[in-house]
């Protein structure tokens, strides 16, 4: 920028998200893969297409909101003209891409150990963002009120009912104060999806961005000598190219592939097999193998505490910004991933074909058999593995933590693949 030429306030606002100069290494594509920026762009696309959809989606018949009205309206958006279905497709594909990209972003941030000090705070806000994104996706795919929507609401509200003491209240709250899925439920989801959650998303993204600047940009290893370059055009140019490429791919995808819409919600019959969208399939697979109390409360609490605690574990030799912290650690990560994938896959097979605790111990309570015992079948090998690792390598904490994180992520990944690809009619295993 030379002298004070007339600047567009919007441009200057956007440029203010960055500092004036930036470390040259920060702009290398494989440092972040541009994932955070892509997520931000996807949010923008979602906001625009979502606002347009709000004009088109009228979930009522003769002014009275109803489930049928929601379905008819979605069908109309899908079939009436090219533009409306294009808007719906853009919204759908952006939402799916956002989930992929945010998970990859989370993985990138973790394995470059960018989660300590100020960035640790941002890790927490990132997790909150992930939950907002998942909640938005969930409330979003309920709005068409097709079979997918109806049975997803049914399953989730029943699942919440397993919370001790307040379960029934929570589940009724989710349904909008009624015991069945009706127009109250629909309005409740509509309000969350188009009001509350977007608002929270904007708020938390702002904090997220603010904290990136507070921690002086993205994490970089300290030992290399740094060299500052102007952000504009060095970084801005790369961002523009990435943004255009991503937008273009989404536009193409939206033109070629329609967002799905199943048949109208039918309370009398579940689809067979009744599968959740891909990003929840791992959890659905888990529900097949684990007692609801373990799948809803115990396991998620442990995993969440671990994930939220990650920044506070006081690692000793730590190379923030260095992929996998060290070369040795990279090997450990790969071994942990292989271990976890094999373990998860074998346990699914064993639980399906070989050992059924409920059959072996028919008079024991299911919370012990399909709950505790199944849970231990996973936890025991994992802790033996970690213990072995600790003995073998005299490794410091960071390596064990990375190993456990890898095990959790890979296990969920495996469950997702099994659920999506290997389950057929009646949700039976195809192998």
């Amino acid at each position: 920028m030379k002298q004070k030429t007339k600047k567009n306030p919007l441009t200057s606002f956007l440029l203010h998200l960055h500092p004036k100069t930036i470390d040259s290494r920060a702009t290398q594509f494989n440092r972040t893969f541009g994932l955070g920026g892509m997520a931000a762009l996807l949010c923008v696309l979602l906001f625009i297409s979502g606002l347009a959809l709000r004009f088109l989606y009228i979930p009522s018949i003769e002014g009275i909101p109803s489930i049928e009205g929601a379905y008819n309206s979605t069908q109309l958006i899908r079939n009436e003209n090219v533009l409306s279905s294009f808007i719906r497709n853009i919204h759908y594909w952006s939402a799916n891409a956002l989930i992929v990209i945010s998970i990859l972003h989370l993985i990138r941030v973790f394995y470059t150990v960018s989660i300590v000090k100020k960035r640790g705070e941002n890790w927490i806000y990132g997790i909150i963002l992930l939950f907002i994104i998942l909640a938005s996706s969930f409330t979003g795919y309920l709005l068409p009120m097709d079979q997918l929507a109806y049975w997803a609401i049914t399953i989730t509200s029943n699942l919440l009912g397993y919370f001790p003491l307040i379960g029934p209240e929570i589940s009724r709250f989710m349904l909008g104060g009624t015991d069945a899925i009706d127009s109250n439920t629909l309005l409740q989801f509509y309000t969350w999806h188009t009001g509350m959650l977007p608002l929270l998303l904007i708020g938390f993204i702002s904090i997220h961005f603010w904290l990136i600047r507070k921690s002086k940009g993205i994490a970089l290893p300290i030992n290399e000598n740094n060299h500052k370059i102007p952000t504009n055009p060095e970084l801005v140019y790369k961002e523009l190219v990435t943004a255009l490429a991503l937008t273009l791919s989404l536009v193409l995808l939206a033109m070629l592939v329609d967002a799905p819409l199943l048949s109208e919600a039918n309370p009398l019959e579940s689809p067979n097999p009744a599968k959740a969208p891909w990003y929840f399939m791992g959890y659905q697979e888990l529900l097949i193998h684990l007692h609801p109390v373990f799948a809803l409360i115990i396991l998620p609490t442990i995993v969440l505490l671990f994930i939220l605690g990650l920044p506070y574990l006081r690692y000793k030799p730590i190379n923030t910004g260095q992929w996998f912290n060290s070369v040795k650690n990279r090997k450990i990560t790969i071994i942990s991933a292989i271990f976890s994938i094999t373990l998860t896959f074998s346990l699914v097979l064993i639980n399906t074909y070989i050992i059924s605790w409920t059959e072996l111990l028919p008079n024991t309570r299911t919370i012990i058999t399909s709950g505790l015992l199944s849970f231990l079948m996973f936890v025991t090998p994992v802790f033996s593995f970690l213990y072995y690792l600790k003995k073998q390598l005299e490794t410091p904490r960071i390596e064990l933590v990375m190993s456990l994180f890898t095990i959790i992520i890979s296990s969920y990944f495996t469950l997702t693949l099994i659920g999506c690809l290997l389950r057929g009619e009646g949700m039976t295993l195809l192998i």
Binding site: W151, T154, G177, L268, I288, T366, E425
Partner: protein, 155 residues
């Protein structure tokens, strides 16, 4: 100054406390059922007793139950709603089991859990037999952990 601070702190806490009470109240009142329908019995005439053969299960999909008749002639109206997370079970005539398409729970012909993740037997409905008609009371499904003979109704 100190005085000021404590008073401010007190007022702050008071406001926060009141707000949280309000939030808790709202959540609970939202959770309360707005359903005002009275719990009258809702008898459904499923047919005459001699229409149902022993050892067979008859679907009444639109009323969300299956009518099972066992080898001793006992009748049971079993809810189609899976006790795991509420999907609709399908009856398989060959294996004589209720199979759930959501997480593949299986139930025996009398509704007991055969394969997890379901944790308790399928609900059933009260039933009476009057003038040889099978009358199923659809108002409230009855929860049970397992099956017992006392749940059956005989013609």
């Amino acid at each position: 100054m100190k005085e000021e601070n404590t008073r401010r702190r007190f007022i702050k806490r008071l406001i926060i406390g009141l707000l949280s009470l309000e939030v808790i109240y709202i959540i609970f009142s939202l959770g309360k059922s707005r359903d005002t329908s009275n719990e009258d019995t809702n008898l459904f005439d499923a047919g005459s007793t001699n229409e149902f053969e022993n050892n067979k299960t008859y679907p009444f999909h639109s009323k969300k139950f299956y009518l099972s008749r066992f080898s001793d002639g006992g009748l049971l109206a079993i809810s189609t709603k899976c006790t795991h997370l509420g999907c609709t079970t399908n009856y398989n005539n060959v294996t004589q089991t209720f199979n759930c398409p959501c997480h593949s729970s299986k139930f025996t012909q009398n509704g007991e859990v055969m394969a997890p993740p379901a944790t308790r037997a399928l609900d059933y409905y009260k039933m009476e037999i009057k003038n040889n008609r099978v009358l199923v009371d659809l108002s409230t499904p009855i929860k049970r952990d397992s099956h017992s003979k006392s749940q059956l109704t005989y013609a």
